[in-house]
């Protein structure tokens, strides 16, 4: 199901025409690679290890709280990959503003996969799946977040990432959710271990938050992942599309990136297709993406996103409680 829009067929066709011009004209007069302004803050929830709130004018508001709990390894031997992946649990809840009600059972941002926007990462599709997918992919260096969750032999942290969406639509921008999760992860701190590493007893931790350890060390790479929506109309590629632009687009992708150095270069850690509207054609008449266009779309993300992710990271570090 493509995202529902209030636009009529003539309006869509007008929008399609203006977006396929060279140079294209966007509804809000942005350049093709320009992002919309967003309000972001972090570390405001005292009961969480990390928290963030991101607001966008059209897409609404997203609040993320991250909690870490101590958990014993399920097996005595070295944990398997499947068990290790359960160390992170993502759940997304949609609470609409009254009348529109909770998510109407369509994937967030129209990203392929069955299941609703609401849901957990246990194979029922929706946002929780691609959020976790990006998180588990470590980037080119073979680095993994799961290694950072190991406390001592037999014990690890279990990370709960709870996403609360307050949106007017059931199709908020993937950028909104991923920016909030990115910021929350970036500001997550875990208490410092005070017992020895190699003992099987229940680990003990310091009460002092001033010496707690960040989940993502602020100066190291890769950074937490970030997913960017990108759509194509004709030969033009647009970053951070609005709801109307998604409806008029011919092809859409969500590209998950993580920053790999301080220059703003990114590694691609995941690509998923995003469901878009009817484009210029009739309903059900889908053109698909050829290789050149696909390359162009991914390139646009990689080139332009580094700066945005870096900027978000810098804001996070300024606001963090230990800044």
């Amino acid at each position: 199901m493509p995202p529902p829009t209030p636009l009529s067929p003539p309006e869509l066709s007008y929008l399609y025409a203006s977006l396929s011009l060279s140079p294209p004209i966007r509804l809000d007069l942005r350049t093709p690679t320009q992002f919309r302004p967003l309000v972001a803050e972090c570390s405001f929830l005292p009961h969480c290890n990390g928290s963030a709130r991101v607001c966008m004018a059209e897409a609404g508001e997203c609040i993320v709280g991250i909690k870490a709990e101590l958990e014993k390894d399920a097996t005595t031997k070295y944990a398997t990959v499947i068990e290790r992946e359960k160390w992170i649990e993502v759940s997304v809840e949609v609470a609409g503003g009254g009348v529109s009600g909770p998510g109407s059972g369509v994937g967030i941002g129209g990203i392929s996969g069955a299941g609703g926007a609401t849901g957990r990462d246990e194979g029922d599709g929706g946002a929780a799946v691609w959020l976790k997918e990006g998180l588990l992919a470590g980037g080119a260096g073979g680095w993994s977040i799961l290694d950072r969750l190991v406390i001592s032999s037999g014990w690890h942290w279990k990370i709960y990432i709870d996403v609360l969406l307050l949106t007017p639509t059931s199709h908020p921008s993937p950028l909104l959710i991923s920016a909030a999760v990115n910021m929350a992860l970036d500001s997550t701190y875990l208490p410092k271990l005070t017992s020895p590493h190699d003992v099987d007893d229940i680990p003990t931790f310091s009460d002092d938050w001033a010496i707690s350890a960040p989940l993502y060390e602020p100066t190291t790479f890769p950074r937490p992942p970030m997913s960017l929506p990108v759509v194509a109309v004709g030969d033009n590629v647009f970053l951070d599309p609005s709801v109307a632009e998604v409806a008029a687009a011919e092809a859409g992708l969500v590209v998950t990136l993580s920053l790999s150095d301080s220059q703003g270069n990114c590694d691609i850690v995941g690509i998923r297709s995003m469901e878009v509207g009817r484009g210029g054609g009739k309903e059900g008449d889908r053109k698909g993406i050829n290789r050149t266009l696909l390359r162009q779309m991914v390139n646009a993300c990689v080139k332009e996103a580094g700066e945005v992710i870096k900027g978000l990271g810098e804001t996070t570090h300024k606001q963090m409680f230990r800044a």
């Binding site: 309000v39 405001f44 929830l45 005292p46 009961h47 969480c48 928290s51 607001c55 966008m56 004018a57 609404g60 508001e61 609040i63 709280g65 991250i66 909690k67 709990e69 759940s91 809840e93 609470a95 503003g97 009254g98 009348v99 529109s100 009600g101 709960y160 709870d162 609360l164 307050l166 949106t167 007017p168």
Partner: protein, 245 residues
């Protein structure tokens, strides 16, 4: 030396209250955010609008409905509360009943006003914070109310007696630690009239202590009202100035 509570407050001191109006960019008609100490609550109001179901249509007045969401990360431990959770239902009913009597519902027949409350962080006085947040969001939405509804908690320390054997003063605005330790009540008043619209207590307390607790609670409501009123006026002024430019 006068006894101080474990967070350094005196018996009649409130925690820091920070409130904001028009916080949400979504399609809600009114929104607010309130922090009372570490209790943090967000509220969105929609309406008056077409009722979401036939059952909610009243011919001569508006229906007030309330949705309460506890964020899974709001407490010390991660707990998910469903829609049918007892605590959630209790809060919803309390808020809904309180505001049904305060909103001038007869002005909006055959419509619905929805208050949705999101509890982001709990540290005692959850119901009080929800009521305060709902008042602010309703004001932001421009829905006519009789007056402010302000809520506050008060607790009675049972174990401590001074030298003469008299019990000490009740504690105003209890935090989570105090709330789980001593009997406490939540009281909500209308404007500065000292009239009570909601009173909730879940523990046992000796009857002779009750009056003092309510009195302290009411004095707290007056303080909360002053803080909320200040913010509403500041917000209104700011909006008018922005319009004038």
């Amino acid at each position: 030396m006068e006894g101080l509570r474990n967070d350094g407050r005196r018996w009649n001191e409130l925690r820091r209250i920070h409130c904001q109006l028009s916080t949400s960019s979504t399609n809600a008609d009114g929104s607010s955010y309130i922090e009372q100490g570490f209790t943090k609550v967000l509220c969105n109001v929609t309406g008056p609008a077409e009722p979401s179901s036939r059952q909610k249509v009243k011919q001569d007045s508006a229906t007030v409905s309330c949705e309460v969401y506890f964020a899974a990360f709001s407490g010390t431990d991660r707990i998910k509360r469903g829609r049918n959770d007892k605590k959630v239902q209790e809060l919803q009913t309390a808020i809904q009943k309180t505001f049904s009597s305060i909103i001038l519902t007869h002005l909006f027949s055959r419509s619905e006003i929805t208050i949705s409350v999101h509890i982001l962080s709990q540290d005692g006085g959850t119901l009080a914070a929800c009521i305060n947040a709902a008042t602010l969001a309703l004001i932001d939405a421009g829905i006519p109310l009789k007056d402010y509804v302000c809520a506050c908690t008060a607790g009675q320390s049972t174990s401590i007696f001074d030298n003469e054997g008299a019990s000490p003063d009740p504690w105003l605005d209890v935090n989570y630690l105090e709330e789980s330790d001593i009997p406490s009540l939540t009281v909500a008043t209308v404007g500065d009239s000292e009239k009570i619209v909601a009173l909730n207590m879940e523990n046992k307390v000796r009857i002779e202590k009750l009056e003092a607790m309510i009195a302290v609670g009411i004095s707290g409501c007056a303080k909360v009202r002053a803080i909320m009123d200040k913010e509403v006026r500041r917000h209104g002024k700011q909006k008018l100035e922005a319009q004038g430019e």
